[in-house]
């Protein structure tokens, strides 16, 4: 079996690299006169670097790319069917699916961890886990979900649909794209191994000095994050280049679909700020394994340095998470409102405004961290200014639905829910941005509620909108619309009940990251736990629907939503080269109902735009 050979080959070279690295590091330690050549964290770090190189080379980078550097001829492989997904394949559509399936699985896993968290928190005292286990689960839930939020949309839908939406054949650097993806499996492996290597203790933020002093698997966690950061940076670079240079003729900046705009800005943020995450954890690693003192106050270090560097990335990162959600929501609302997009330029301005401001608000996570007082006012001001560009996204969404003909399919419902949920999450953000209120609310469940509203309510709902919206295009099959709507209402209600309630224990004085809390908060926590189980159960509907539809759902037509953008003007799924004949863009993508308006032409014929007929044909889809 071809796929098996490549993957096991990659694992093999990876392992060889790993042991080689360990040997090198142990020898080095001996050469420099350390009494003990074996130091788990140090040796494994060096081993990991070697192993990582071995892995990506073995999985296919050597054969299809690196041989070139040594003047050798690169090899060409022909693969079929599902085996493509286990190869160093450079087709952006394959990479998109690789990302999506990987991160959907990770999402479900991390969701199950959330269920464990809620089970433990159902009442006070310790029931199922000891404190170490709780902290491990908490840290894993946090970081895996953050990884999902950062990479699932960008890597999945971004890869699959950005080239299609702009009429390109592939990404600007296809091989780099494959590399970005194949850096992910080691990250997932390392993170999932942490429980067996000593667990985690520091939550997803990994604040030193605790993260330097802890005897857990922190070093492995750091290595995973640095790798993940590398993957994000390369991915971001690729998107920026693709969108700048690969647009089809006529696809001017003023005609870019909303999702592409959001990906453009997201990619810039990933490219510019991700280094902060990597740098912060590099410093922690150096403190841990090389005995340095970035964060050791006794030697002149400062723990707050970490927080500045960390949030310098991690605040912009929340926009990496939400912008694709906004982009998908606007994209879908634009198509399913069946009327011209409202305030396109302002929405783009909103995206760009967020890009500009995202890097100057980070210290709002540090209002109570003991930063000098003169830092509070500027960061308070900048943080609240960000609500103005964000508001423009809302303007566009609300203006587009207003007086439209809303075709309330499952993707549209999810898209509208993004707007609804994020309004709540954004407004609670204002409570946190105001220092006088943040002093009490920081590190409480109010913050937990805020960020689940923004991430889950904003991005994860957007991700499901995108899954349903593009499912027929990606798989060539149609999901069951009734089940999808059931999933929507179930998830929507479960989500809002769970997380809206969660604000209250926060105000009442329940802090985050604890396995145990005062008995006075029992009732409310039990309620939250029960509703979160309800929320979790809704995903069973989703999994069932998608798995069944992918395997034997009805065959979808090319354009079941009769949408105007380019991806729908080609077959489902699209051919390897995306379009039979190269597209030319001649008009705005969302001008529904404007007589004579056309978005694209292929060859010499205007793209067909069959109206109502297509919707009726897709069966359940029309039963709004």
């Amino acid at each position: 079996m071809w796929a098996l050979t490549t993957v096991s080959g990659g694992v093999g070279t990876g392992l060889i690299g790993f042991y080689l690295g360990i040997a090198v590091s142990a020898l080095l330690r001996m050469a420099f006169g350390y009494p003990d050549p074996w130091d788990r964290d140090f040796d494994c770090s060096i081993g990991y670097v070697f192993g990582l190189v071995g892995w990506v080379m073995g999985i296919g980078m050597w054969g299809t790319w690196s041989r070139e550097w040594f003047g050798l001829k690169t090899r060409t492989t022909r693969v079929q069917g599902w085996q493509r997904y286990f190869s160093f394949c450079t087709d952006h559509k394959v990479i998109g699916i690789q990302y999506l399936t990987t991160f959907t699985v990770v999402f479900l896993l991390a969701g199950l961890m959330a269920m464990l968290i809620r089970a433990e928190l159902a009442t006070n005292g310790l029931q199922f886990f000891d404190k170490q286990q709780y902290n491990t689960i908490l840290g894993l839930h946090g970081i895996l979900m953050i990884a999902v939020a950062v990479a699932a949309m960008v890597g999945g839908f971004g890869n699959y649909f950005v080239p299609l939406l702009i009429g390109a054949e592939d990404m600007a650097f296809p091989r780099l794209n494959a590399l970005s993806f194949w850096l992910i499996p080691p990250v997932a492996l390392l993170l999932l191994l942490t429980p067996f290597l000593g667990g985690l203790e520091t939550g997803w933020t990994a604040y030193p000095p605790l993260s330097v002093q802890t005897h857990t698997a922190q070093t492995f966690w750091n290595l995973a994050i640095v790798t993940f950061g590398l993957s994000s940076i390369l991915g971001g670079l690729n998107f920026v280049m693709t969108i700048m240079f690969m647009r089809a003729p006529g696809m001017t900046w003023g005609r870019l679909p909303m999702f592409v705009w959001s990906m453009f800005v997201t990619a810039w943020i990933a490219l510019l700020y991700t280094q902060g995450f990597a740098t912060a954890l590099l410093m922690v690693t150096l403190d841990r394994i090389a005995g340095m003192s970035f964060f050791n106050a006794n030697e002149g270090g400062d723990p707050l340095l970490y927080q500045h560097v960390f949030w310098f990335y991690s605040h912009p990162a929340v926009y990496i998470m939400i912008l694709p959600g906004f982009g998908v929501a606007l994209e879908i609302i634009g198509h399913f409102s069946r009327k011209p997009f409202f305030a396109y330029k302002y929405a783009v301005g909103g995206f760009l405004g967020i890009l500009g401001l995202s890097g100057v608000v980070w210290a709002h996570h540090m209002f109570t961290a003991g930063i000098p007082n003169y830092l509070h006012p500027p960061f308070l001001v900048m943080t609240e200014i960000i609500s103005i560009p964000t508001g423009l996204i809302f303007l566009a969404a609300l203006g587009t639905v207003w007086m439209g003909r809303l075709w309330l399919t499952a993707p549209m419902l999810f898209a509208l829910a993004v707007i609804f949920n994020f309004a709540c999450g954004g407004v609670t953000g204002i409570f946190l941005a105001d220092v006088p209120t943040d002093i009490h609310l920081q590190d409480t469940y109010f913050v937990v509620a805020h960020f689940h509203y923004t991430i889950v309510g904003g991005e994860i709902f957007g991700m499901f909108a995108a899954i349903y919206y593009w499912f027929p295009k990606m798989t060539g099959r149609m999901y069951n619309e009734r089940l999808a709507k059931l999933h929507f209402w179930w998830m929507f209600i479960g989500f809002n009940v769970t997380f809206f309630t969660m604000h209250w224990p926060g105000i009442q004085g329940m802090n985050r990251r604890i396995a145990d809390y005062p008995a006075a908060l029992n009732g409310i926590n039990l309620f939250v736990s029960l509703s979160s189980f309800m929320l979790g159960a809704s995903f069973i509907v989703f999994v069932a629907n998608i798995v069944y539809a992918w395997a034997r759902g009805p065959v979808a037509e090319a354009n079941p939503w009769s949408a105007r953008t380019l991806e729908w003007q080609t077959s489902s799924p699209p051919p390897v080269e995306n379009f039979e004949s190269p597209p030319r863009v001649v008009g705005h993508p969302y001008d529904y109902g404007i007589p004579g308006s056309v978005h694209s032409v292929f060859g010499d014929h205007p793209a067909t735009h069959p109206a109502a007929a297509a919707g009726a044909a897709s069966g359940g889809a029309a039963g709004a």
Binding site: F70, R78, M283, S293, G300, L305
Partner: protein, 187 residues
């Protein structure tokens, strides 16, 4: 199911040269943030305090690195005019100077009067270490490019690997232009 062929692109984009160049610039942009953050960390932790460093050595390796940028530039210009021998010689000079620089940093490390445990040592070793890693990477890439050049792969029309590595070399050089005063001069 579709059959997929992958490997080297069969027909490449017409503007590949431009895409490569801008892409590399973006990469520098991102790297600059890494170097910038470390530089900020240095001032955040230590202000303008500085421990005793080997001024003579610092000056020498700085000059060496600057010179290597000149030779790298000459190599690129040479290949643009199909002067392969000159290009090859200049690449070798660059590689040599780069290695001397790396050895110089190693010597500085071995003889430093401060320990990595102190805050200044921490930032000094990290900044020079990360930078030297880039220099060594650059040396490796230059060597690969040189080997290909020797085998006659490049001409005035097609020499992206040389241009790319030389651009990278300049970038690493510029970083040092900021790091040198921050580590050796201020106080």
């Amino acid at each position: 199911m579709a059959v997929i062929t992958f490997g080297p692109p069969a027909h490449d984009l017409p503007n590949r040269a431009q895409i490569n160049r801008v892409g590399l610039w973006l990469f520098f942009f991102s790297e600059a943030i890494l170097f910038g953050l470390l530089l900020s960390a240095r001032f955040f932790l230590e202000g303008i305090h500085r421990a005793q460093v080997n001024q003579f050595l610092g000056l020498i390796i700085t000059i060496i690195l600057l010179l290597s940028s000149v030779s790298a530039f000459t190599a690129e210009t040479a290949i643009e005019h199909d002067r392969r021998r000159l290009a090859s010689a200049m690449l070798l000079v660059t590689i040599f100077l780069g290695m001397v620089f790396a050895v110089g940093v190693g010597f500085e490390w071995a003889t430093a009067e401060f320990h990595r445990k102190e805050a200044f040592g921490t930032v000094f070793f990290t900044m020079t270490g990360i930078h030297a890693t880039h220099v060594v990477t650059g040396v490796l890439m230059l060597s690969l490019a040189w080997a290909q050049l020797r085998r006659g792969k490049y001409s005035s029309k097609s020499h992206w690997p040389i241009s790319g590595t030389v651009m990278y070399w300049h970038f690493v050089d510029v970083v040092w232009v900021f790091y040198y005063p921050a580590l050796y001069l201020v106080s």
